[in-house]
Amino acid sequence: MLELKDVSVKYGSFTAVQNVNLDVSEGQIVVLLGANGAGKSTVFRTISGLNKAASGSTHFEGSSISKSSPDKIVKSGIVQCAEGRKLFPMMTVYENLKMGAFVHRSHRKKTKDSMEYVFELFPTLSEKQNDMAGSLSGGQQQMLAIGRALMAKPKLMLLDEPSIGLAPLIVEQMFEVIQKINREGTTILLAEQNANAALKIADKGYVFENGSVVLEGTSEELFSNDEVRKAYIGA
């Protein structure tokens, strides 16, 4: 479904991502593991078209999206839920969700259905739909960020560290929701530092270090790999 071939990304003269190959099949949950600054977010931004790759190519459902603009990429079905709960704080929860369905703005019915789906997934959002997004708690903001991404009805959702800064109990719920979204037909590419929780729900994973993939394999393989355990699971 999504394929990155030899992708390198530069910030000025600094190479943040080097010769990365990724392969995500439809229906999967794939996780990118890596420490701070390993290049996970950069890969996501590149897939979304927010950064342009210096070399290499990105293909989605068979066609190249390396040169597409970010809005075209969203329209083709890839939606990113960026790091750090990026919301429109001065808009209400409802308006934030509505903005998420921007690419389907001419389909009112579709938007309404997605909204109901999101409210079903996150009942809290329904209760708080008229509150300003900026007034939500961290966990609620993360729900809203995911909800807003879902409003675009993505085929592939990029989730950048959804568990960051959340209480352990909420993290667990968050991963359950991600699994549920996946079961209902959305392919998921997940960046995480919480390897333990992420590998439990993922099909396969890639381990990033200094902008390159140093290890890849199924969740079981990574889970039982000594280096991964030492570096990311702490056991």
Binding site: S48, G49, L50, S69, D71, K75, K86, L87, P89, A152
Partner: protein
Amino acid sequence: MKILKRQYIILAMLLFAIFFPLVTQNEYLVHVMTLSFIWMIGVYGLNLLAGYTGYLSLAHAGFFAIGAYSLGLLTVKAQMNFWAAFVLALVITSVIGFLVGLLALRTKEHFFAIYTLCVGYIIYLVIDKWESLTEGVRGLIGIPAPGNIGPISFQTPLSQYYLVLSILLLSVLAMYRIIHSLTGRTYIAIRNSEDLAQAIGISTIKNKLTAFVLSTFFAGLSGALYASFIRFIGPDIGHTVITFDLLTYLLVGGIGTLSGPIVGTVLVVWISQQLQFLQDYRMLIFGPVLTLLVIFYPRGIVGAIASWTNKQAGRMKQRSLRDEKKEDSFPSSDIAPENQVKEG
């Protein structure tokens, strides 16, 4: 209840505007008020781009002048029918706005401000130096007053006052519709974060360009009205000084608010009139006041009032929550949003 109150305020303002010339009977005041209305239209244009979309254009007076000179040249030199020239002036301004926007919007933030500052100055220079077309510093004389619409003529100051007021009201209405539509929310999203806007599928290039063109359209409208009201224009109307005047009105009233342009323009124009005896020393007062205002009330007077009433509402909400708690001891995690500035 709050909405009801807002409606009363709008109604009061409207009645005031309608009856103002009849009550004062002072031609000079009516003249100043008409001019203020004309400025307001331009300020609304600036507000859409700088306030809602987050792109501070300093070429605004340039587009104001393009609107004014287009109307002037088409009526005086090409002898065109007034209203045809009026419409064409708006088209010309918007087309030039489109072309400038294509280039200018490749830049962001300070660079955009500096780039548009240069564009504005170039427009001024072109008007000033292209004497064979614009008459240079001598200016364009004899621009006709607005032509008749059916049986209504606009030769008297009073009729011009009402014409400008009507166009202002239409502009405000249009702004209201834009801001409260998906397009408006798209602009706000871009102001908020361009990355995030792109991430949810908004074509930022396209939307920034429409905001830019709309903003120049209102600048042109304001300029064309100015030309037909004052009936004489010189290159000075395109000078950067005018841009900063408009920006001052916007900052004082409240950038990114719907009523800011009205409040700011009336207030600053009126205070300037009162302080006329001070001549340019007025700036000694305006400068510090403006600086303080920007520091403490970045969203101007309207923003200050809005956050104040919000705080009151928040306090009320908390009080009622506390009362609720006393009655039945359910824990409530719902804390009133702090300092959220609603669109005024």
